[in-house]
């Protein structure tokens, strides 16, 4: 449908679940015009009805979110969520360089079967190639200098970073979004969204944006932008 009506304006919604509230940012990509954040919104969860689902404990009911989004004027259907760090497993693996994607996937699956505490069929994972060794520097990949990236890429060993989480939690998130009238397109770590925001910062002139902390603003804004321009 999107391809059929490519001239229509595309909108996305970034959702960042925090302890006391839910930060929303709606990005808009008009057919002719720059990608920008259209709306910022903050929903306090004090009075919101909570989910009974054990995996989504503390999250608001999707019907409440749908109503709140409508009241806030959000019209987006594609959504991005930040995954909680506690649910995330991170691995840094070394693979033989020169492997194609299918071979890389197979090698990573073998490694995940060995390292994950639950079966691979219950795991959702994704990876990206790195040019840096595993360690503390992986937490801040944007700090790697270009010469180091080039030097590591020239090596015969390929470094990959793998993120994994439980499939049940991802499925619960997808169901929650569907119930709220949203289509979950991206589920990514908050640092990745923040990194995206830093690469393409948007002016925050909205009043609601000024209420958000800069870090939260960067994360939720990065999530919204990630749907339209990953």
């Amino acid at each position: 449908m999107r391809r059929l009506f490519s001239r229509s304006t595309r909108r996305s919604l970034g959702l960042l679940m925090l302890a006391d509230g839910l930060a929303l940012a709606q990005a808009s990509a008009p057919a002719q015009g720059p990608l920008h954040i259209q709306h910022w919104h903050w929903l306090a969860l004090q009075d919101a009805p909570k989910m009974q689902h054990s995996l989504l404990a503390g999250w608001p009911e999707p019907s409440w979110l749908r109503m709140a989004c409508q009241q806030a004027g959000c019209a987006a259907q594609d959504a991005a969520l930040a995954i909680e760090e506690a649910r995330l497993r991170r691995f840094s693996l070394q693979l033989q360089s020169g492997l194609n994607v299918r071979e890389q996937v197979k090698a990573i699956e073998l490694e995940l079967q060995r390292q994950m505490p639950w079966p691979l069929s219950d795991t959702v994972w994704d990876f990206h190639c790195l040019a840096a060794p595993a360690g503390p520097t992986l937490a801040e990949p944007h700090q790697r200098p270009d010469w180091l990236v080039a030097a590591m890429q020239a090596q015969a060993v390929q470094h990959v970073e793998v993120l994994a989480t439980q499939r049940a939690w991802v499925a619960a998130c997808e169901h929650w979004c569907r119930a709220a009238g949203l289509w979950l397109v991206r589920l990514e770590p908050a640092w990745q969204a923040e990194q995206r925001w830093r690469r393409q910062p948007q002016p925050a002139s909205d009043k609601a944006a000024q209420l958000l902390a800069p870090e939260v603003q960067a994360q939720v804004g990065g999530l919204a932008l990630g749907v339209l321009a990953p």
């Binding site: 995954i83 996937v105 959702v124 994972w125 994704d126 990876f127 990206h128 990949p141 944007h142 970073e161 993120l163 994994a164 989480t165 499939r167 991802v170 997808e174 979950l184 397109v185 991206r186 589920l187 990514e188 770590p189 990745q192 990194q195 995206r196 690469r199 990953p230």
Partner: protein
């Protein structure tokens, strides 16, 4: 920059590719089947038309062979018909002459002579007559000759029969043969 996404997009992409492949296989199989059916149908039609043409040619060949076999007969018949057509005026003329000759023969009443048989053969009349005696025949010949009609005959008796007259008397009747002069160029 990393683009990690934990929505299982790889699996969905693989599933979508697999479904596209399945649809492609099904569509390909359907297209192949339809193509094969169409080709078979077309070849069947071509074969049927070819067989019909062969059958027609075979029938035509048989008819031509039949005509070829009957051709000499028809040629002979045609030749005979042409000959008959060419000879027909001459025959008509001959027939007229024959009737004229017979009329001349019968222009004199044959007293005492009974004509029992008249035959036109090879351009002349052959008459078989019965008479009690050769003189009666000669008398009729003389009368005919007086009228310019020549008839020749022999006193040879071909056969004899007995004839009972109304008065109860038995007579012996002799059969003689008379021949008229032959017409020029005439044949039977």
């Amino acid at each position: 920059m990393s683009t990690l996404n934990l929505v299982p997009w790889r699996e969905r992409q693989r599933l979508a590719v697999f479904r596209r492949w399945q649809v492609g296989v099904v569509l390909g199989a359907i297209a192949t089947t339809l193509t094969l059916v169409a080709i078979e149908q077309a070849l069947g039609n071509i074969n049927q038309a070819h067989e019909a043409r062969l059958e027609a040619l075979h029938a035509q060949q048989q008819a031509l062979q039949q005509q070829l076999t009957e051709a000499p007969v028809w040629q002979t018949r045609e030749r005979q018909a042409q000959q008959l057509q060419q000879a027909w005026p001459h025959w008509q003329q001959l027939q007229l002459q024959a009737w004229q000759a017979l009329t001349h023969l019968l222009s004199v009443a044959p007293h005492g002579v009974q004509v029992i048989h008249a035959e036109w053969r090879e351009g002349q009349w052959r008459l078989q007559v019965r008479a009690l005696h050769w003189r009666h025949v000669q008398h009729w010949q003389t009368q005919l000759q007086a009228r310019g009609v020549q008839v020749r005959g022999q006193p040879t008796v071909l056969n004899r029969i007995l004839w009972r007259c109304p008065q109860g008397r038995l007579w012996r009747l002799n059969t003689y043969e008379l021949i008229s002069p032959s017409l020029a160029g005439a044949s039977s």
